[in-house]
């Protein structure tokens, strides 16, 4: 099964990286989310996908019978929630940026680092 997951995550990470390299702001952020998704798959499969049984101890039993490795599941749960909340933050950031800048082009977004006009000196900014 790990081969299937490896293939999926290679595709997701590659596509995500390519999107993230885009100049389009939302593509960039969705691309990063995809990369995060791919890494989550990586975490998930790190504990070997040996069983399809959920890791629940049967009622009355003291020990877990043969089941999927619970450790990566717990880690992925944490990672999913974190990447989700970052995605939410990036959505808010993106909406606000799109409103303020009026453009989806990150290459045009030079407010923090304005392009220089002088031959050797950086741009002279107005006081904030």
């Amino acid at each position: 099964m790990i081969w299937a997951v490896a293939l999926a995550l290679a595709t997701v990470i590659a596509a995500g990286t390519y999107l993230a390299l885009s100049r389009d702001l939302l593509r960039c952020l969705i691309g990063l989310a995809l990369v995060g998704n791919g890494i989550n798959l990586l975490v998930f499969s790190s504990g070997r996908l040996l069983s399809q049984m959920p890791p629940f101890v049967a009622a009355g039993a003291q020990q877990l019978a043969v089941a999927a490795n619970p450790v990566p599941q717990a880690l992925v749960l944490t990672a999913i929630v974190i990447s989700f909340i970052f995605l939410c933050f990036s959505l808010v950031l993106a909406v606000r940026l799109l409103q303020l800048a009026g453009s989806a082009d990150t290459a045009q977004l030079r407010a923090a680092e304005p392009a220089a006009v002088d031959a050797v000196k950086p741009a002279l900014e107005e006081a904030a």
């Binding site: 960039c28 990063l32 990566p72 880690l75 303020l100 030079r110 407010a111 923090a112 680092e113 950086p122």
Partner: protein, 482 residues
């Protein structure tokens, strides 16, 4: 319990700041910061007195539970974090020198940032470290976005995108290490990675180091730092520069001492050249810029290069130099940023082309800047000199002449850019002839905060014996040398 206070105290303070009525927020925040400082002092004295402290959350046996462990290195960094938090909050109390906007979310985010950093400094579990990286990241983003202007948001975006890649790589490295060894605890990982074949250990170590180098703003991953830092209000910037990149460096030291030990020479060699390139590009970036905050931000990269160089020397003396350099840089850079804020207060600008005349107008500020700048350049007797001396001496002793030459040469460029600030901001007459230094009202907290820092820095420079002994002992307990 003391080991957990770097996390619990600031986290609880952050939460309480959100829960109490707005009028109480500042009081709660200051009380929390003071308590953290006391805990950090207690932690440091415990560590010095009784050796490293550890606790496993939930009382589970190792390597199953999450371990928090504080040795001298952790304790020192926690102390710096606590100290800087107090300085920043003091600056913020009714201050008028480029203070952060008094938003309701400021205090929780500051405490949250320190909680994440503090926990990262004491955790001994790799996945847990990832969580604390995320906590510092989200708080940093919140603080960056606080102003809400296009400039701040552009900075936030760049910081976000480039740092998220770092944390994602860290997560990938954690997962792959778990896949290869089945462990998450530092020491358990250390034992397990020693058994791994080099063919798999090297890529994993590389991935982990890359994640930390991105966080540490090393060449060529530093773009996020100069792209964002200058958009911050001065006190927040001081906290950022004292903590954020340090977390990456700290994690790298831990990774090379606990998780992968002994790491291959090849890695240290490459790290050394990364350090040299960081030093050079940072110093030249500082020489290029005219905005005080940008100059200082680029200097951070160059100083990070020095620290990485010391780590790359892979020896007890090198590690000691790295730790000393981290402590020195946290304090001096923060103090310089606060000095810049006072310059801003006096002149209304951060850009050297728009300011001047401060040597006559603000003699004490001139003196403070001079002392701090000399420390950054590495003129004795300053904390910067002892740090730089240890790095250069160790490079020479180990026969790394090119590295030593780079370290010294970059010192000359640093001198150049500090001189530029001095000539332009202090000696040059103010471009506006009618300019008068404004009245100094509501600056008392700011002066107190900066004054305290400067006294501390000077005493480190003049009487470095105990500090150097401390970092040497700290270095001796790294890399399985205990």
């Amino acid at each position: 319990m003391l080991v957990l206070t770097p996390l619990l105290v600031p986290l609880a303070t952050a939460l309480l700041c959100l829960l109490v009525p707005p009028g109480w927020q500042q009081r709660v925040s200051l009380a929390g910061a003071l308590l953290l400082l006391l805990c950090a002092l207690a932690l440091a004295s415990q560590v010095v007195g009784n050796g490293p402290l550890t606790v496993v959350a939930g009382g589970w046996p190792l390597p199953f539970g999450i371990e928090f462990a504080a040795d001298r290195l952790s304790a020192a960094l926690v102390l710096i974090a606590a100290l800087m938090l107090n300085v920043v909050l003091l600056w913020q109390v009714g201050g008028s020198a480029d203070a952060a906007p008094a938003a309701a979310t400021l205090q929780p985010l500051l405490h949250g940032l320190v909680a994440g950093a503090g926990a990262a400094f004491v955790t001994a579990d790799l996945f847990n470290l990832y969580v604390w990286f995320e906590l510092t990241l989200i708080c940093a983003l919140g603080l960056l976005a606080l102003g809400g202007g296009l400039r701040q948001l552009d900075a936030t975006l760049k910081y976000f995108v480039l740092n998220v890649v770092g944390t994602l790589l860290l997560l990938a490295a954690v997962a792959l290490l778990y896949a290869a060894t089945g462990q998450l605890n530092f020491r358990a990982l250390g034992a397990a990675t020693a058994q791994l074949p080099a063919s798999i250990a090297l890529p994993l170590l590389t991935l982990l180091s890359l994640a930390f180098l991105i966080k540490a703003a090393a060449f060529p991953f530093f773009a996020w730092l100069p792209a964002s830092y200058h958009s911050l209000p001065a006190p927040v910037l001081a906290l950022f520069s004292a903590l954020l990149a340090k977390i990456g460096i700290y994690a790298l030291i831990r990774c090379l001492s606990d998780v992968f030990h002994p790491a291959p020479d090849l890695l240290f060699n490459v790290l050394g050249w990364i350090a040299v390139l960081s030093m050079i590009s940072g110093a030249l970036g500082a020489a290029y810029h005219w905005d005080l905050r940008r100059i200082l931000a680029f200097h951070s990269i160059s100083q990070i290069g020095y620290i990485l160089l010391a780590i790359a020397l892979a020896s007890p003396a090198g590690d000691a130099a790295a730790i000393l350099f981290m402590l020195h840089h946290s304090l001096v850079k923060a103090a310089l940023i606060l000095t810049a804020a006072l310059i801003f207060h006096a002149c209304g600008h951060y850009d050297l082309r728009r300011i001047g005349g401060l040597y006559a107008g603000r003699p004490w500020l001139s003196l403070v800047f001079l002392l701090l700048a000399l420390s950054l350049v590495g003129i004795p007797p300053s904390s910067g000199f002892w740090s730089k001396f240890l790095v250069v001496r160790q490079s020479l002793v180990q026969g790394e002449y090119l590295w030593a030459a780079a370290a010294l040469g970059v010192g000359a460029v640093t001198l150049y850019s500090m001189l530029k600030i001095w000539l332009e901001a202090f000696w040059k007459p103010h471009p506006d002839e009618s300019w008068q230094a404004p009245a100094r009202h509501r600056l008392l907290p700011a002066h107190a905060a900066l004054g305290g820092l400067v006294v501390l820095i000077l005493s480190f420079g003049l009487l470095p014996e105990s500090l150097i002994a401390y970092v040497m002992a700290a270095a001796d307990s790294l890399r399985g040398r205990s």
